[in-house]
Amino acid sequence: MVNENLVKDVVKEPYKYGFVTDIETEKIAKGLNENVIRLISQKKEEPEYLLDFRLKAFKKWQKMKEPDWAGLGYKQIDYQDIIYYSAPKQKEKISSLDEVDPKLLETFDKLGIPLTEQKKLTNVAVDAVFDSVSIATTFREELAEHGVIFCSISEAVKNHSDLIEKYLGTVVPASDNYFAALNSAVFSDGSFVYIPKGVTCPMDLSSYFRINSGDSGQFERTLIIAEESSSVSYLEGCTAPMFDTNTLHAAVVELIALDDASIKYSTVQNWYAGDEEGIGGIFNFVTKRGKCLGKRSKISWSQVETGSAITWKYPSCLLLGEESVGEFYSVALTNNLQQADTGTKMIHIGPKTKSTIVSKGISAGNSINSYRGLVKMGTKAKGSRNYSQCDSMLIGDQASANTFPYIKSQQPNSEIEHEASTCRISEDQLFYLQSRGIQFEEAVSMMVSGFCRDVFNQLPMEFAAEADKLLALKLEGSVG
């Protein structure tokens, strides 16, 4: 069918961020053992408790088995064939951005990330992470005026050790799952955010993760703490060069919201997805979880997942506080031989908690796109509510779309609603739009945009524009 082929062509937008930055890096030898962990910890000049945390996690990881329940097909990962620490060589301490290697600045420039002063026009503070280390964090002084701490996690370990010791691993314990344990043992860098009581963060915060090296894994860790009555919107973007080997990315994100606090966490994930034959691409095994500890606290996840060869990601909310709210808005697009198994977990523990799940999956090519979610009402979740909606769109007759919602209730005084549907871009609809003088590509874009609207409406302005562009750029595009 002519139209179907056209739709497939439209989906095939080449990956724009596949370049490699030629920069001198400091790498440790491949392989993972206790000494490697001690070495990472030593390089980062970490206190004793953190080394302990890492070693305990490593011991647990050694006893664990790689999960296979998601039914993802990928070749076995050789954990001894990965470099666990890789950092661009630069002067030890950077006092200003001028001292950052121009090549690095250029890289982030190419990616459209404004790090240099003249480009800091947008009102977004950025923490840029290159392989294993954080390169620069912008707008720090401005944020500090409001008492907001926004820095790399390594810096936080040095300067805000009490907070790290108190909260690290409290939402995602080291033994949570195989990849979280691995991350806890070897995490290199990531972002740390602390919003003090009563503060509404004056600007959006953003992290940008770039994998540059083909043989090193990226294991970043993000920790966000929102104190009473504070609020923050956090954005995350990721890209990687094109290699014909698979690179492992196993991150952990922990969010903590206290009374009346609100955290909005948005991701545009555009890691390299491998080529049409499925060679190369990032293995993206991520554990993201938020804990609504306080009363009336709120955590909202929104994500646009377009990259990675394999995605295994379930941003979740633990709703402990009374009347706390969890939200999950997701668009996942898979093409060629990509596999995505993504969804969310909403664990209602406290009374009168509410959660909303809106998931849109688009599968094209020979890809597999699965929604896997859990909604659980605990015995104390009286008066709680959940609403879930997961829709799939299929492009071509080789792609598969699966829905696996697990629903469990132990509380009669709670309500759970779930709906799912499947559709495709039909020829009738295309014909209708085309007969009204709308170009084919625009028509496809309009339909996909309409399909994803519920989610895009939830993205912050900066990302919403990007997401729209992403659509206009035929489903695969730029990242902010």
Binding site: I395, G396, D397, N402, F404, H418, T422
Partner: protein, 405 residues
């Protein structure tokens, strides 16, 4: 779990049939289903082992019918009760399946069994002897409604198998009743093959007594242009598992399923369904209702599989659940696995309690809370019960359910 021990040693079964041998062989290496598999993960372990604790009942048990008299026109059959039937008249014929055909068909089925998914069938077929198997071949039209009973005897494990071939253009109503007795286990496996243009209105009513257990497995193969309607009801079992597997072998078939399970005390009743569309233009409308009270646990897992060949499939699945007590729990997992792109598939799930506003409305009109709850429940039940064919009114199912609650 003496049955499992027996299977492991294999020798204690006398006069094994060919089918028994094949199934025992399959079970020997791993006699129990994998408790971590998706199909068995939620199954209560102690209740399941209680199911297997009884010794196998191989004797003939006289069946004393505590049931309403059947009307003259109905055909009533009891599996295991030396059941023989051979009815041939100008419009229709109901014949016993020949031994060869029966064995051939079951062997075909076993060849595509999955150890976990079809464990209940494997157990059933390895325990069952000839006299507890009923195989029928039905053809023609204007066939009187049929009622088929399977029952368990106290303090024993009973295995019954039913195989029915519906020939082309055949149209029947069939009510299957599974009865549990005090401290008993019943393993019921049913195989239907619906040939082209045939239609089956199937009712399954299973109810037990104190501490009775049930493993009820239903396998249906639908050829093109066939229609299969199922209304099912399971209640009063300490442990019950209802597995439905339907395959539309060439597509172009219609399937309607309306099922309900009611759990009380510390009972666990689960329903697993797998609908496989193996050709284009398939249709499915499924609704499953659960009601869980006291400390009970109700489970529903339904999967719809739409491969590339099954274009223009129209499938919907709805799981509606009522949770009436703080200590009860409900697990539900409706799932879709789709590859064909030109399909309409949807599913939905809800868990809630009785509607408080409606209750309040009725109470303001002078209806007591108990009566108002009953009214609401009766409308909840009625949708399913009205779908069960053959003399359902005589069974007073609604009364049985309402007075229980």
């Amino acid at each position: 779990m003496q049955i499992i021990e027996k299977i492991k040693t294999n020798k204690s079964f006398d006069n094994q049939t060919e089918i028994q041998k094949i199934c025992l062989d399959k079970l020997k290496s791993s006699p129990l289903p994998n408790p971590k598999s998706e199909e068995w993960r939620l199954s209560n372990k102690s209740k399941f082992s209680n199911f297997l604790d009884y010794s196998l009942n191989e004797k003939d048990q006289k069946f004393d019918t505590p049931f309403p008299n059947t009307s003259q026109s109905n055909i009533r059959l009891v599996i295991g009760d030396n059941c023989q039937i051979n009815l041939i008249n100008e419009n229709y014929s109901i014949k016993q399946l020949s031994e060869d055909k029966l064995v051939k068909y079951i062997k075909e089925q076993i060849s595509c069994f999955d150890q976990n998914e079809n464990w209940s069938d494997l157990l059933n077929l390895s325990l069952n002897c000839k006299k507890n198997t009923l195989g029928l071949k039905i053809s023609g039209s204007e066939i009187p409604p049929i009622e088929i009973f399977s029952h368990a005897s106290s303090n024993s494990l009973n295995a019954k198998t039913l195989i029915i071939f519906l020939e082309k253009n055949c149209d029947i109503d069939l009510l299957q009743i599974n009865l549990g007795k005090d401290n008993s286990s019943l393993s019921q496996s049913t195989f239907f093959c619906l040939e082209e243009n045939s239609s089956l209105n199937h009712g399954v009513v299973s109810y037990g007594e104190n501490k009775s257990n049930l493993l009820n497995s239903l396998n249906v193969i639908q050829q093109k242009n066939s229609e299969y309607n199922l209304g099912s009801l399971h209640f009063k079992f300490n442990y019950a598992r209802f597995e439905i597997r339907i395959k539309q072998s060439e597509g172009n078939a219609k399937t309607n399923i309306k099922g309900m399970q009611i759990t009380k005390k510390d009972e666990q009743i689960s329903t697993y369904t797998k609908i496989d569309f193996n050709g284009p233009n398939g249709f499915l409308d499924q609704i499953n209702k659960s009601l869980a009270d006291d400390k009970s646990h109700a489970i529903f897992e339904g999967s719809i599989i739409v491969p590339k060949i099954a274009q223009k499939t129209n499938a919907s699945q709805l799981s509606r659940n009522l949770l009436l007590s703080n200590l009860a729990q409900i697990d539900t997992k409706p799932q879709l696995e789709i590859i064909a792109d030109d399909v309409k598939c949807k599913h939905g799930a809800t868990i809630s309690q009785l509607n408080e506003e409606e209750l309040f409305y009725m109470r303001t009109r002078g209806i007591t809370l108990t009566e108002a709850s009953k009214l609401q429940l009766s409308s909840y039940f009625q949708e399913i019960i009205s779908f069960i064919p053959v003399s359902k009114d005589k069974w007073d199912l609604l009364d049985k359910l309402l007075n229980e609650n």
